[in-house]
């Protein structure tokens, strides 16, 4: 996967959420404006869950701890900004409800999308604990002993290690 696409996708989602959040908080929205903002916001929020398997796949394939942390931090930022957007979209929902005398259809989708974002937030938070768990450094004596064993030749080359771990 490209090293640049995922951060840009995350940044795009955050920017969209912030822009639509600002617009939905504007006073004096008319019904057609409210409907447009609600539809756009809901679509933006519903796209966020598609980032989660990308992030999990990237980490699962093997990556360093700091990279995994950064990927999860970006994802959590996207989730939080879109949860905030979901909150501000209550205003266009109210405008439409007042105008039409019934709950707009998108309102139910908004609730479901919020719930999915909260689930992803919880899963990503659990994974962050795995990534950020404290290291258990070996003692200096253990490292000295390991160095001594290494010096005496108790070591495998990369190819020998690969075969030992994975077989032929």
């Amino acid at each position: 996967m490209s090293a640049t696409v995922l951060p840009e996708l995350a940044a795009e989602s955050v920017a969209t959420a912030e822009r639509l959040g600002r617009l939905s908080a504007e006073e004096g929205l008319d019904a057609s404006e409210a409907e447009y903002i609600l539809a756009s916001g809901l679509a933006a929020i519903q796209r966020v869950p598609r980032l989660w398997p990308i992030v999990k796949g990237r980490i699962g394939a093997g990556t360093t701890g700091p990279t995994a942390h950064e990927l999860l931090a970006r994802l959590l930022d996207v989730v939080d900004k879109n949860l905030a957007l979901a909150g501000t979209l209550k205003e266009p929902v109210r405008v439409l409800r007042d105008e039409r005398g019934r709950e707009p259809e998108a309102a139910a989708g908004l609730v479901a999308a919020q719930e999915r974002l909260r689930e992803i937030r919880a899963e990503a938070g659990r994974l962050l604990k795995v990534v950020d768990a404290p290291a258990r450094w070996p003692g200096p004596e253990q490292l000295m002993e390991a160095k001594e064993h290494m010096r005496r030749g108790a070591r495998l080359t990369a190819e020998e290690f690969r075969q030992a771990l994975l077989g032929k």
Partner: protein
């Protein structure tokens, strides 16, 4: 710089003995070898050391072991780095939180 990565036999024994990893999980775990080989200079610069003059740095490798995504800590000696060698002295599969 591309490094030759060597692994202490005790580390190899420990990693081979880890239970519950799928074949794909072992492959993903093995990726730390490629990372050290190809990005050893970045790791030497960025990874933490107990003291600034220590020859041992700590690399955390996160991967999907099969049943779950896990973190593996590797402690790598770079005292032979000038000759192109990095040596993995110690490994520790970090317990899952709450286990």
């Amino acid at each position: 710089m591309t490094y030759h990565v060597e692994v202490l036999s005790d580390v190899s024994h420990y990693l081979r003995g880890l239970e519950g990893l799928t074949r794909e999980g072992r492959l993903a775990m093995h990726g730390f070898m490629d990372a050290l080989r190809d990005y050893g200079d970045e790791a030497r610069d960025a990874c933490p050391r107990r003291t600034p003059d220590s020859s041992v740095f700590h690399l955390r490798w996160t991967f999907d072991a099969g049943p779950a995504i896990r973190s593996l800590d590797l402690y790598v000696d770079d005292s032979e780095a000038a000759a192109g060698f990095l040596q993995v002295l110690y490994a520790d599969l970090v317990p899952l939180p709450g286990s």
